[in-house]
Amino acid sequence: MPHWLYRKLGDRIFAWVVLLLAFGVVLAALLVAWELLRGGWLAFRTFGFWGFLTGREWNAVSERFGAWPPLLGTLLTSAAALALAFFPSLAAAIFSVEYAPRWLREPLAFMVDLLAALPSVVYGLWGIFVLAPLVRNVLELPLFGWAAAQAPWLVPVLGPPTGIGLLSSVLVLALMIVPYASSLARDAIALVPREQKEAMYALGATRWEVVRLVVVPYARGGIFAGVVLALARALGETMAVTMLIGNSVQLPFTFFGPAATMASAIANEFTEATGDLHLSSLLALGFVLLLIALLTNLGANLVLAHLRSREVKR
């Protein structure tokens, strides 16, 4: 093979192939969006886009569908789960790379990844039979009892302490997204160049100072990618949340009481929906979820750009 062919043509062909495949991914995503929009068109036409988005009633009998309660539920559960999961998953990542003895590293990483290997229906069943009673007896009943005696105004905010509702579903969701945040963070931390760390140690830094000043800043990109992936996972998680959240679209939501998310509404009703408008509203809900994912990602990108610009200034 002539030299120039190998160099120039090879590069050209390679770039074309990967770009074409990547373009396939974009195409697939557009196709998903198109299917959802097409399917949800009837609902958007009937209620209007804003009418659908802000409608507070979800009633299959009177065929009035509004996305507001499940939309709120999705935002609440995802944000809370992410907040809960962030530090433990980062801690697990840092611990397994920087602190754990060598023999423990692989098994630790392996176990965290194992959290991702359990089907979500398993989380759901475990949630109903183990977690929910635990949450009810250890967290909700004592808190409720305390509030009833000391701060009665809290009672309506807390909601019924049955163990099934927002709190339990957030806990399970947080657990489920840990491997996504933790794995990517771990890989990023493992790739921090040894020289950088050794330079710090040579200056007499403690381990924690090395982690704080070198490891975390260097691995920030990977950590952030993990957070974004975890958030995406939280937005779309269906089965476990559906089994634990109590599925009520009655506003206002309370801490302990039942709520609903967009994914749970879709999962609950999709297989049994027969009315055209009902089905269309579920697909419209999917489209709204897609928009939410789009917006959160754009927001995340802004944050990332901000982080980068600060870095340059410094």
């Binding site: 120039k8 090879g10 590069d11 062909i13 770039a15 990967v18 770009l19 990547a22 396939g24 991914v25 974009v26 697939a28 995503a29 196709l31 998903v32 299917e35 959802l36 399917g39 433990p88 801690a91 697990a92 397994s96 602190y99 630790l108 965290v112 990844d113 194992l114 959290l115 290997a117 359990l118 089907p119 229906v121 398993v122 183990v130 491997p179 996504y180 933790s182 794995s183 990517l184 771990r186 890989d187 990023a188 790739l191 403690t206 381990r207 924690w208 100072e209 990109g221 990618a225 995406a232 779309g236 269906t238 879709i266 999917g286 979820l289 897609l290 994912a293 990602n297 995340a300 990108n301």
Partner: protein
């Protein structure tokens, strides 16, 4: 700040990190123990060698579901790996390409959609034109779930490979594609593998997108163009049934599924390490 305070803080942080790790691992152990206790009784010879039996009859098994899961997940991972790796390479190695912002956005957005909607798309894309359900259409639905995870993981880890490595390769006179294929990707294989395994785990446990694509089949099938059973489908159907016996089998299937993913993840890591030492 004196040394003692710094040491103290260091020790405190070790404690906190350990606590965070335990906070993650404790529920995992609880769940695994729960699944194990519930499911281990269902695992016997019949479970692995027979097809499903109607309720109330002894000796039903999961053979068609096990075979179906293996075939569907393998095809799905193959499809997703090709597209996901390519997308990751584009994102990391051609950082200035115009496609990139859009590509990154769509893959992140896709990761946030409920799995059932991917089934819907695969139905429109594969089942409707073919006129019947098939294992292949299920694999397409799962691949749609897996692609963003692989793409993001690949991108993330490729970005962390120092540019010096690429420059060294180019300086040696290697064309860019050889640098990417022979230097960058091998250097990043650990992270890429994590991505592949996460994606496999994500896809292999989903039942909802398979309901109207792979559909399920009580008979043993090897042809991916026919309706095919899978473990999550069986777990789903058996878990909602009223029969104790089926519940036990559902737990057994859940245990097996987790075990299969665990084993494949473990084997992949080991193969990687062995190769790494050899080369």
């Amino acid at each position: 700040m004196n040394l003692r305070r710094r040491r103290l803080r260091d020790g405190l942080m070790v404690g906190l990190l350990l606590l965070g790790t335990l906070l993650v691992l404790l529920p995992l152990v609880m769940i695994l123990a729960y699944v194990f206790v519930q499911g281990v009784g269902a695992l016997n010879w019949n479970f692995f060698t027979q097809g499903p039996r109607p309720p109330g009859e002894a000796g039903g098994g999961m053979l068609p579901a096990i075979v179906g899961s293996l075939i569907i997940d393998f095809i799905a991972l193959a499809i997703a790996a090709v597209f996901g790796l390519a997308a990751g390479v584009v994102l990391a190695e051609y950082p200035d390409h115009r496609l990139n912002p859009l590509l990154r956005l769509v893959s992140d957005v896709m990761a946030g959609l409920p799995a059932i909607l991917m089934g819907l798309v695969a139905f429109a894309l594969v089942v409707r034109p073919m006129g019947h359900f098939s294992g292949f259409s299920g694999a397409v639905a799962l691949a749609l779930l897996m692609i963003p995870i692989i793409a993001r993981a690949t991108e993330g880890v490729l970005r962390l490979i120092p540019w010096e490595l690429r420059e060294a390769g180019l300086a040696l006179g290697l064309p860019r594609w050889r640098v990417i294929l022979n230097l960058v990707l091998p250097a990043a294989k650990g992270g890429i593998l994590t991505g592949l395994m996460l994606a496999l785990a994500r896809g292999a446990g989903e039942a909802a997108p398979l309901l109207f694509t792979a559909f399920g089949n009580p008979f043993l099938v090897f042809d991916p163009l026919r309706p095919m059973d899978s473990l999550p489908l069986k777990i789903y159907v058996y878990a909602i049934s009223p029969y104790e016996d089926w519940h036990r089998q559902a737990w057994g299937a859940a245990l097996l599924l987790a075990f299969l993913i665990m084993i494949s993840s473990y084997l992949a890591r080991r193969a990687l390490r062995a190769r790494g030492q050899g080369g």
